[in-house]
């Protein structure tokens, strides 16, 4: 298990190196002065041209490319990602102030889609060919076919404007302090994000469950006189779970991607909304850094998924 973990961890590093390198190349190709996102804008305004040139030399902007990359990487590792072009705020501060909102939304949606998807998928598989199975399958297809933002708009129209049950956007209101106060704000975006993701999880867990149920050991379990629930849950679902966990892990990129659109529509103050604003404002350093951040998040998440699957499957764990 330890060597497995270490091996997976070691495979992460070259990937991250290549990605950071690409991001750095992107930053270098950005039109505009490289100094501008390294030095705070207040300091910039008070500088003469000679001073700027000096600074450039001092900052090593005239050094060879690879040296600059390594220096940039070193700073990034220490948490210095430069400044936003438009607001002049350190990028690190932007990302970390927006992170809790995005995490809250993503985890809620992940929870909804995983629970709903795996249970519906299992039921669908157990009743293969029944009316329930067919309707769930068609519902799932409709789920992946409706544009997420359209689904979001319709749900705002119905639940916020027509029925007035839930707020149409934002994460909190003045005077709200606890999570429970804010909960109504979370419900709609989390449900929209969660339900659109449920379809994929359901489809996958259905086929995974069907696969598990077709295995010989299901027949063995029955031949021991075990009751159906035990055969289906302990021998079917338990085995079917591993690929579902892997899928949920692979869905994390989609989740982060999905939250870009959903955050925008619900005016949820997370990283996704910040990202759209940055793209719209041609704020490339911020765009690059958020992209880097999300890739890192995905890679770390997939590493955790690997560990989880190893825990679930003794064949990997004990190798």
């Amino acid at each position: 298990m330890l060597t497995y973990t270490l091996r997976k961890l070691l495979m992460l590093i070259p990937m991250l190196l290549v990605i950071t390198f690409l991001i750095f190349v992107g930053l270098e190709l950005t039109p505009g002065d490289a100094v501008s996102y390294m030095v705070g804008p207040e300091a910039m305004a008070n500088m003469s041209q000679e001073r700027l040139d000096e600074l450039r030399e001092a900052l090593g902007l005239n050094d060879p490319f690879i040296v600059r990359y390594l220096r940039w990487l070193g700073r990034a590792l220490r948490g210095d990602f430069g400044y936003s072009l438009t607001s002049g705020v350190p990028i690190k501060d932007i990302v970390f102030s927006r992170l809790p909102a995005t995490l809250e939304l993503s985890l809620a949606a992940l929870l909804i889609s995983t629970l709903l998807g795996s249970i519906l998928g299992m039921v669908s598989a157990l009743r293969k060919g029944s009316i329930l199975d067919v309707s769930l399958t068609v519902a799932g297809m409709i789920g992946v076919s409706i544009p997420q933002f359209f689904f979001a708009l319709v749900s705002i129209l119905i639940f916020s404007f027509k029925l007035g049950w839930l707020p149409s956007g934002g994460r909190t209101m003045p005077g709200y302090t606890t999570f429970l106060d804010r909960l109504p704000h979370l419900i709609l975006p989390a449900l929209v994000l969660g339900i659109t993701m449920t379809a994929g999880v359901m489809r996958y867990s259905r086929s995974s469950m069907l696969d598990a149920l077709s295995k010989d050991y299901i027949k063995t379990a029955r031949s021991k006189g075990l009751p159906e629930w035990r055969v289906n849950l302990l021998h079917g679902f338990r085995v079917a779970l591993t690929p579902v966990v892997v899928l949920v892990g692979f869905r994390l990129p989609m989740l982060i991607g999905g939250s870009v659109v959903v955050e925008q529509i619900f005016q949820w103050p997370g990283i996704g909304k910040e990202f759209v604003a940055a793209v719209r404002g041609q704020n490339l350093p911020l765009v690059m850094m958020i992209a880097l951040f999300s890739v890192t998040a995905v890679l770390v998440a997939s590493f955790l998924v690997d560990l989880l699957t190893a825990l679930l499957d003794p064949r990997i764990r004990l190798e």
């Binding site: 295995k215 010989d216 050991y217 027949k219 063995t220 379990a221 029955r222 031949s223 021991k224 006189g225 075990l226 009751p227 159906e228 035990r230 021998h235 338990r238 085995v239 591993t242 679930l312 499957d313 003794p314 064949r315 004990l318």
Partner: protein, 335 residues
Amino acid sequence: MVYVDTILTVDNLHINFYTNNRCNEAVKGVSFQLKKGRTLCLVGESGCGKSVSASAIMRLLPPLSRIEEGRIIYHTDQGDIHLHELDPSGPEIRAIRGAEIAMIFQDPMTALNPVYTVGFQIREAFMYHAKMAKAAMQAKAVELLRAMRIPAPEQRVNEYIHQYSGGMRQRAMIAMAMACNPKILIADEPTTALDVTVQAQIFDLMNDLQQKHNAAILLITHDMGVVAELAHDVVVMYMGVAVENGPVEDVLTRPAHPYTSALLRSIPVLGQSKAQKLEPIRGSTPDPFNRPQGCQFHPRCDFATEQCLQEPETFSVSPNHTVRCWHYEKVLANA
């Protein structure tokens, strides 16, 4: 004419499969009796319905299949149980599965669950048939593994099936099947996936168990060598039909069905490799959806006549030896 020592009667069993929107008559007329302390072999090539017949006894047929006709009767001291009438997922058949009738499968690697320890899966076998504390079940599992001659059972019991070697896996499976001392053990090609040397060990073990517990064994195989080695009685199957049925000495030395005799002539006998002339059976197995009329074997048979277009009756060669062939006397004379 049920003998005192008969424990299971299968009578004129018919099973259809309804997959892919077609109807396939997988088993069309199989009868035999299983006796205490004796081994009966179901032989035939793959697809002849031998495994299906065995699964039907346990009522473990896949969803899109059905027992059309015939009876499966389990004879107990408390009277007969008509297995073919039970709900396949109901409590009555569940009480019999594992406790009274147990089954071992061809490939233990796929027939045992990879995510649970061997011990867990053996304990499961007790769980619904005996009231026992978990520690007692664990101790019993270790004891069973030891009886199956698995080294270091205290440690092995907590290991997973992929950590076992090939022969050990099958022994673990037998341990699981024998957990509740079943009266009948159904073994579906138990050694096909194993080395020849390991095969012998497994058969040894099964013999021991039979003698110790007086269990009846239904052994499914395509290997005539295995039949000669282990069987007391043989049922030969072809395209879903039990074509010949009798004590092993009779069937192997005086085959009355052309298929049995062709089968015997097509396999090599150890020590005769040079002298023996191997004759493969001509033609090939028909498509189950496009079956020949009457006797299923007649297109490949040397004795075939007009009469073979009629379904053959069952004839008695000797009191215990029956055959389904119009020309069995010619076959016997020819041998």
